[in-house]
Amino acid sequence: MSREVHSGPTDQTQARGEPFRGDPEGGDGTQPQTLDKLALDSWHRAKGGRMVPFAGYEMPVQYEGIMAEHLWTRENAGLFDVSHMGQLFLHGRGVAQAIERIMPGDFQAAKDMKPKYSLLLNEEGGVIDDLMATRRGDDFYVVVNGATKHGDIDYMQRRLSDVAIDHMREQALLALQGPRAADVLDTVIPGIAELGFMEAGPFRAFGHPLWISRSGYTGEDGFEISIPAIAVEQLAEWLVNDERVKPIGLGARDSLRLEAGLPLYGHDLDDKITPVMAGLNFAINKRRRAEGGFAGAMRILAEIENGPPQLRVGFDVEGRQPVREGALVLDGEGNEVGKITSGGFSPSLQRPIAMGYVAAHLAETGTALKLEQRGKLFDAKVAAMPFVPHRYHRKGAA
């Protein structure tokens, strides 16, 4: 038996997403050679986590199994250790104006404690990373991807000499996701259920300060909890002692986000892809479109105006066999018109789904295309995303 393809997040595939490939100061060699240990390393092992190299850390890819963990999160609450991600604190005079030079969000108008999804851009309009940025008074708390964090920090330091960047290495990050997450977390942090989707704030637990946002990467309601690393085991243990919570690995994190139609950096986003190609125009508001003034604005605004050459779309794949990253997208005449950037078997839908890029004129939902993987052709149709509806907790919604 051979291992032909390893789909989902691994160091091997993530490495392709390393930013600054074209940058003489960065490049492929910037990944750390030795693997770091998470604060919860021994806790993961004790819980049966199968550890794999990822983003420079040894991380749990699964505990009892990806399928079971995935479905548990959709029905109950899953606890994810995402402490590999970079937590940054940006401060200094005029941070909001400064970060607008390299991110297309409207940070000057950003309201306090409301996380905003944004993108770190290069001068060609390519995506160096995707991130969440939250105003805290005059400062910004920014969470970036684990595999890209060191490159991101270097880039920010080069481009934002007027901003002080603290890498909050002493903070761990947990995500509690699923329809029962709010009830569970409310038992240790009373009042947490009052937060609405994409709201954040300071809380306390076990005598430690926490920063919690109601957000996540699964399509479910849930929370992301920044906590001092010295206290993370206490919180994790407390959470999984609740029968509604199980620890969930990277494997299910990947299948959950794919069903939710959310792009994964290094796969569905990279430094050659613009936010417009990726269908992330919502991250660029009216003022930023009118004024520009961010890295790559010329190309990005032209693409908003005239349409991008390619678009990120979902695919429903015929049959049962998963079609994975790297497969080609072909039109009816066999011409290559795109490629698959993420794909796998959907545990919730019990059929294969995929995400990728196609020529813009073929991006309409329902367009019939072929996918080619290892010499075999698959019928597929462009599908609307998310594949599984989001169930965020929007205030005012029923």
């Binding site: 038996m1 051979s2 032909e4 789909s7 990806i66 066999q321 796998g344």
Partner: protein, 123 residues
């Protein structure tokens, strides 16, 4: 009846000149939840080391090699219909295909069960 294993984690059970082939329990554990299996049709000739079947889990796709050469007598439709059978009974009902052996001498290079179980402990 004899049971042999390959370093690629296939098993082959030999009765007379018929060989039944599947993947080991160790292999299914490493793959995780199996969601797709493709088995060869009867009549197909396979040679030792050649891809004969496909198995895919949520996270990985693998080829199953023919541990020995021969002509396929039967592909296991039950695993094609219900791939999770490979997880639940990998070395029994979760077999992939049966071959009529071309050359029983090819079995000599394979591990016996004891050697295989010892070897995977070292992986």
């Amino acid at each position: 009846m004899s049971l042999y294993f390959t370093r690629e984690h296939e098993w082959v059970r030999v009765e007379g000149d018929t060989a039944t082939v599947g993947i080991s329990n160790h292999a299914q554990e490493a793959l995780g939840d199996i969601v797709f299996a493709e088995v060869p049709d009867a009549g197909r000739k396979v040679s030792k080391g050649q891809e004969a079947a496909v198995v895919e889990s949520v996270k990985a796709a693998s080829d199953v090699y023919a541990p020995v050469s021969g002509e396929v007598i039967e592909g296991n439709q039950a695993v094609a219909d219900d791939p999770a059978l490979v997880n639940s009974d990998p070395e029994g009902e979760g077999w992939f295909f049966k071959l009529k052996l071309d050359n029983p001498g090819e079995l000599d290079g394979l591990m016996d069960e004891g050697a295989y179980r010892d070897w995977i402990k070292t992986l």
